[in-house]
Point group: C2
Amino acid sequence: MFETAELGRKVSRKEYEEAVPALRTDLLRVQNELRLEPRFSVVMVFAGVDGAGKGETVNTLHAWMDPRYLHAHALGLPSGEEAERPPMYAFWRVLPARGRIAAFMGSWYTNPILSRVYGETSDADLGAALARINAFERELVAGDVLVLKFWFHIAKKIQKKRLKQLAKDPELSWRVTERDWKHFELYDEFLPVAERAIRETSTGEAPWTIVEGTDRRYRELTVGRHILAAIAQRLEAEPAAAPAKEPPPRLERREDQPTILSLLDASKQIAPDAYAKKLRQLQGRLNRLSRDVARKGISGVFAFEGWDAAGKGGAIRRVTAALDARFYEVIPIAAPTDEELARPYMWRFWRQLPRAGQLTIFDRSWYGRVLVERVEGFASKEEWLRAYKEINQFESQLCEHGVALAKFWLHIDNDEQARRFAAREETSYKKYKITAEDYRNREKWDLYEDAVNEMVERTSTALTPWTLVEANDKRHARVKVLETCCAALENALERARKKRR
Amino acid sequence: MFETAELGRKVSRKEYEEAVPALRTDLLRVQNELRLEPRFSVVMVFAGVDGAGKGETVNTLHAWMDPRYLHAHALGLPSGEEAERPPMYAFWRVLPARGRIAAFMGSWYTNPILSRVYGETSDADLGAALARINAFERELVAGDVLVLKFWFHIAKKIQKKRLKQLAKDPELSWRVTERDWKHFELYDEFLPVAERAIRETSTGEAPWTIVEGTDRRYRELTVGRHILAAIAQRLEAEPAAAPAKEPPPRLERREDQPTILSLLDASKQIAPDAYAKKLRQLQGRLNRLSRDVARKGISGVFAFEGWDAAGKGGAIRRVTAALDARFYEVIPIAAPTDEELARPYMWRFWRQLPRAGQLTIFDRSWYGRVLVERVEGFASKEEWLRAYKEINQFESQLCEHGVALAKFWLHIDNDEQARRFAAREETSYKKYKITAEDYRNREKWDLYEDAVNEMVERTSTALTPWTLVEANDKRHARVKVLETCCAALENALERARKKRR
């Protein structure tokens, strides 16, 4: 694979100096077009052999382009607040808005490759990491990000020469660290791992470009021209005709086809006395558990979905009543802000992930994509179909990081909803909760039921199961929610214990 | 001061249980009104003697109110990424948007009071810290934040009893730390410091409420009712008639009154040869300095202002050309996002402050308030007049934290600007930079000149001086900018050295 990057390609000073002015002008031009009509963002990965000129190339690009809309990130191993979240958080956090360009030196490839080279992970681990990277990049591409990946290669003997040269230069010797020499010694182990990484992540939507790093002028022109061509091509592409965002046709519900909701026993209930006792007991248990996880730096994410008036708010309050206000946050999901709209869909949820030891409760969640946005036609079919995978990726990363995850669908039946709407109309301080839209939504009950059915089918996994809560009886619902939250925390504590062993 | 908080006031269970339902309903109602018409946000400070019930009260408020729009923060001593910025960053960072409520346990009072009690700081230090707090809270209030501050007090013998009780309870003993016992021992030192803090920060716009913490029911009702009354009052207040945002009248410039700009010698220049040499030399120096500050964890903030076409972009690129792309970021200041518009003016600059070892370059800055917003009438007179003080506060906090700060006004004369606009019209790839608005702005030259003059007069301090750059000659301007950046970093390094001694 790397043979073609050891051909000794060079660019003469004359050719370079003749080519650069036009290239700079063109790069500035496309960058400016991108900024003025921000239809997509650009994420560039710079990876490869140490000493192959990644850093210098990024510096040159910054000199050529407008540094106000181009930002370099040197994220290697996450640290501090980043390390308290799943590894990809560090990258999600700094994703550029549409119209902007980001250069990642030290990227989502750094840790998977290095930990395999160092022998800390297995081939299978690497495979899993690469599969996750593919999913991540697909998500970026689908979220209007142009992904450009450059692999800088130099032969081993050239790497050695470079390091020696640098080490001799009193001005530059600081750049050669012990880690660099260690990486040099591992050159032969590094190459096959790198090759596999490139092979398995060179996808149609986010291919690698291998850059021969020996000659500075050659690599700068190569990378610069590649970036120019890619952005120009994307700018010139007809803005994709916005995919149809029509609501799906009203389905003929066949009576003999049950949904996951129709099988729920909505009549489950619990008597007031038993409830009072159970509530006290469960809240005590949840309180102790929340302190345990806070001490151990385990975080939790509880997501609440359900029919309008199913009692999400009341259930959430029974949970938070058991918690110390310093340890949790409730995030109501409503219309996205403009900063959120300028980035891939899942960004707004990644940015809300809790720090170590904290709990975040989402009142409505990332499932909006496959529920309200699907049914109301706010998302195209392609968007909401894609979302199942994006959601599974997101949640599996939470679980792998040891986050306690619970997700609830609060189910009431259609008659119960009608009763509750009527009751709300009569309670002065709850009246504002009922709008004409709520009644319109009732007409789409079957469409929502199908959406819920498919959501559970596609996103309820062994690690990230849905909890369907029979909620006609509020007491029963609250008890089930509290029990599930407790179980999720216990589970996370148990997994952490096993991991430590 | 605290005598009135040792009166043993109590609320009977009966009275409490009768009062709570209506109080809860009212709290929910005003919270909801606030959320639906977000004209202001609410920031609550909970401070006072340990064991006086701050935490329990905040928990109760969370149970009474809607936890989705009420968020508690336990920020004591800043840590991690927060510690890399000035101390107030931790609080700015989490300021609620309009319509939301935040409760701070552990607030901007924690560190000033405790470090004085521990004897780490002097009375004068405390005075300075309190003055800064007053300025901060005034800024919040002016930025549509309702600031409510509660001081929880209990007598020493009650604190002792509480701690002992907690320590005995196997379920609660975790809450009593060594630090708590240490604070108990310092009770008598704590009180006078607290008294001074309260006295000096009980202002008209952000007064303290002292709460007797002995009886749980009393303190909860007191605090709840106080919050209710304050929010309700603010909601009922006529929305302040938006202050006139008209541009100031065109001034009669008196020829005999020079401005700071008219005294600049715009003709200063440097020959091409000397420039090439100087540029190389200064960029080398800046590069070495940037690595020094990165190693030492010192950060830098460079702000660029100037006439249209004065060469800000070119000057910035000469600076960034000397820097490693991983160590800096250029932030162009344009229209605020909706997340920024929902918070006090300076929030959008606080959130961009660099981490330790990083440089942030602002292309236009917080001075927009007293320049374009003033002249164009986007800010009311009251807003831009207030901004001078807010800016000085912001910058002095940067300096106290050891940040290298430089701020530039690039000055060209009116004729030179006309020449540059014409030249831009003729250069295809610069044409987009010229709009009809640029020509309109030229007509307001005198107004801008007066604004610049006043800006320099009010915000050029010994610690945070303006650098006025004669920029008719671009070479001269770039050299002066580079020299100033170098000096700012050297200065910061020197201050850090002295501090360490």
